[in-house]
């Protein structure tokens, strides 16, 4: 057995993964992503990997990716949320309504009040669906399918179908703004510091308890890889200039939001009791119950969380359009679910990572972006995406079977 494990390429990759504490599945996703990027770059004559396209790709990915981090927790706890796109439209309209009808348009406080209301409403309505699911034991599929029909219709009531536009100009920064070259470097330096601090903190707490730690060389290589990736990211975002200008745009605000939210979500998933209960409940609901976990509150909490993330998604989407149309976010739930599943979240529950969902979202968006660049019409695009989703679920089933 041990001999079989150690020979062959996959065995080698697995061992490398163990040494670096990386998931082999994650590594293969990164591999697929790189392959897709190289393919589209060649097929588009170098357009795909241009700073301009990568900047746009990052913005396009942000909404799906940030909601997908919440979808991971929902699916891990054996649920599904089909109401995302519809709830996003409702929350966007709610925000626009507050900025234009309730408060004075361009009023000094309009932007942040509407943001707070959207976040609170997202958590409240997402949580409400969660409470119905958890406390009345109605399958999440049914409740959120109801939400899918309900929320867009509720949005219509606000506006009678009229598109709210324009929106507050400060608010619009959330969609199209970027933070400039200097602040991009500051953010990336801070990010690198946090990564380094985290690696050493983990190493130190292990050593204090007398556990073996990785060779310092391996840690240093990891740190260099991280710093290199972060610097490459900042460099790329800064390389896309404002029109007729030498100034780089820097990190787009939606991407900055995504980075912050994804970090918080990774913390919640891996380092809090709530996250632990989500995974434990997904692995064995009965065990969670018998261990004294308040499972109903955990499940409802996951839906409140994704509702709040949907509000952030609504802000970015409406701010980008400078409008809150009723049609926004259509089929978004499927893109979000696909991102989570492609990123290794198992529909059977109990398995899934935040990082995986980010890579899944980027992979999907790269496919779509690349197909646009090489001139594939939109219908075949959707057909390809559908194929990729089913392929990802099939891969997951093979993977799960192998682990048994």
């Amino acid at each position: 057995m041990a001999v079989q494990e150690s020979i062959g390429f996959s065995g080698g990759v697995r061992r490398l993964g163990t040494v670096l504490e990386l998931d082999t599945r994650l590594l293969s996703m990164v591999g697929a992503l790189i392959a897709i990027w190289i393919f589209f770059d060649l097929a588009s004559g170098g357009l795909f990997l241009s700073p301009r396209n990568l900047w746009n790709l990052a913005v396009q990915t942000s909404v799906v990716a940030l909601i997908a981090t919440g979808m991971v927790l929902v699916i891990v706890s054996r649920g599904i949320d089909l109401s995302i796109g519809s709830l996003l439209a409702f929350l966007g309209i709610l925000g626009g309504f507050i900025q234009t009808e309730v408060l004075p348009l361009e009023g000094p406080h309009s932007w942040w009040i509407s943001i707070l209301v959207m976040l609170a409403a997202g958590a409240l309505f997402g949580g409400l669906q969660g409470v119905i699911i958890a406390f009345l034991s109605i399958p999440s599929f049914v409740v959120t399918l109801g939400g899918l029909m309900f929320w867009r219709a509720a949005g219509w009531l606000f506006t009678q179908g009229r598109t709210i536009t324009p929106l507050d100009s400060t608010y619009s920064i959330l969609g199209g703004g970027s933070i400039g070259e200097f602040w991009s470097w500051v953010v990336c330096a801070a990010g690198a510091l946090i990564v380094v601090a985290f690696i050493f903190w983990k190493r130190n707490s292990r050593r204090q308890l007398g556990f073996p730690v990785k060779p310092i060389g391996v840690e240093l290589v990891m740190i260099l890889v991280w710093i290199g990736l972060i610097a490459l990211f900042a460099q790329t975002m800064n390389a896309y200039n404002f029109p007729r200008s030498e100034l780089g745009r820097g990190i787009p605000v939606p991407v900055l939001l995504l980075i912050i939210i994804a970090s918080v979500m990774a913390y919640i998933a891996n380092m809090t009791k709530f996250g632990r209960y989500i995974y434990g409940y997904g692995g064995n609901p009965e065990a969670a119950e018998l261990s004294g976990v308040n499972t109903k509150r955990v499940v409802a909490g996951a839906f409140a969380l994704i509702g709040m993330l949907t509000a952030v998604g609504a802000m970015i989407s409406t701010a980008r359009l400078n409008a809150a149309p009723l049609s926004i976010g259509q089929l978004l739930e499927l893109q979000v679910i696909a991102a989570a599943v492609i990123g290794g979240t198992s529909l059977a529950g109990g398995v899934g990572t935040i990082l995986g969902a980010l890579i899944g979202a980027l992979l999907m968006q790269s496919l779509q972006n690349g197909m646009v660049l090489i001139g594939v019409p939109s219908s075949p695009q959707q057909m390809v995406m559908a194929g990729v989703l089913i392929f990802a679920v099939w891969l997951d089933m093979i993977y799960q079977k192998k682990r048994r």
Binding site: S205, R206, Q208, L209, F211, Y267, N270, M271, T272, K273, R276, Y277, Y279, G280, Y281, G282, G283, N284, E286, A287, A288, E289, L290, S291, G292, V293, G350, V351, R403, R404
Partner: protein
């Protein structure tokens, strides 16, 4: 000699699932530092009875006293607060989590800032698992990758970690080989020596006679007989389990009508 206060007294417990009366008018008494064998054939209501004690099921009727005090146990959390720990028949482990996460599931150690303290939990897990299985060193894999005996050890470690006063074991050796069974038997003796009261459900009469001080037999959800192990032999016990016939020749309530 005055009788010591029982660690657990369950009086006239009732529980039904729809039309099925799983437990009816059942009594159980457990003294500190003793092992009580709970016997009965499949479907007799043993698991249901102990799940009422561990808070997994709310009872429909009856009373529970812990060390003489009335205990209103409604949830697993309540039971744990009374010092009752349970090893369930199906182990109730979260298969996708690693050993430390399972041992501390529901009662995680956190840092000052409220984050999970993984290192501290792993450290404590290593210590408690050493007591059960000195060779065990797989603390990072999901428990679905462990052997039956190792999983059993993880389930037992869950109870040891939290200083239980009362431990309930539902068929703790059913999935184990002879070596591991011996290990669990030694463990039960050690726990007993520490003054912990243990209820053990088992099908293996040899184990029961070997480890128990007293036995309680139930049939069709009802109490048949309770007494010292040395008052009866295996034949007597089998008669009670299968026929509901006590050593003195009388029948448990609700049995006679069925057999005539």
């Amino acid at each position: 000699m005055p009788e010591p206060t029982p660690a657990v007294e369950m009086r006239s417990i009732f529980k039904h699932f729809g039309g099925v009366h799983a437990v009816e008018d059942m009594d159980l008494t457990l003294y500190p530092g003793e092992v009580l064998g709970l016997l009965g054939h499949n479907g007799a209501g043993k698991s249901t009875l102990i799940k009422i004690l561990s808070g997994a099921y709310p009872r429909d009727g009856g009373e529970i006293l812990i060390e003489g005090k009335s205990a209103d146990i409604q949830t697993p959390r309540d039971a744990k607060a009374w010092g009752i720990e349970t090893i369930y028949q199906n182990l109730a482990l979260a298969d996708n989590l690693a050993t430390p996460a399972n041992i501390f599931f529901g009662r995680e150690i956190t840092t000052r800032f409220g984050a999970l303290d993984e290192a501290a939990m792993e450290h404590a897990s290593i210590r408690v698992m050493k007591r059960l299985n000195p060779n065990f060193d797989n603390f990072h894999d999901a428990v679905s990758n462990l052997s039956g005996g190792q999983r059993q050890a993880v389930a037992i470690a869950r109870t040891l970690q939290f200083n239980a006063k009362i431990i309930i074991m539902d068929e703790p050796t059913a999935a184990l080989g002879p070596h591991e069974t011996q290990m669990v038997a030694d463990l039960i003796r050690n726990l007993k020596a520490e003054g912990i009261a243990i209820v053990m459900i088992s099908h293996d009469l040899h184990d029961v006679f070997d480890l128990s001080d007293r036995i309680t037999v139930m049939k069709n959800g009802r109490h048949v007989w309770t007494g010292d192990v040395d008052q009866v032999d295996k034949d007597d016990v089998l008669q009670m389990i299968i026929l509901g016939r006590r050593p003195d020749g009388s029948y448990a309530p609700g049995i006679l009508s069925e057999n005539t």
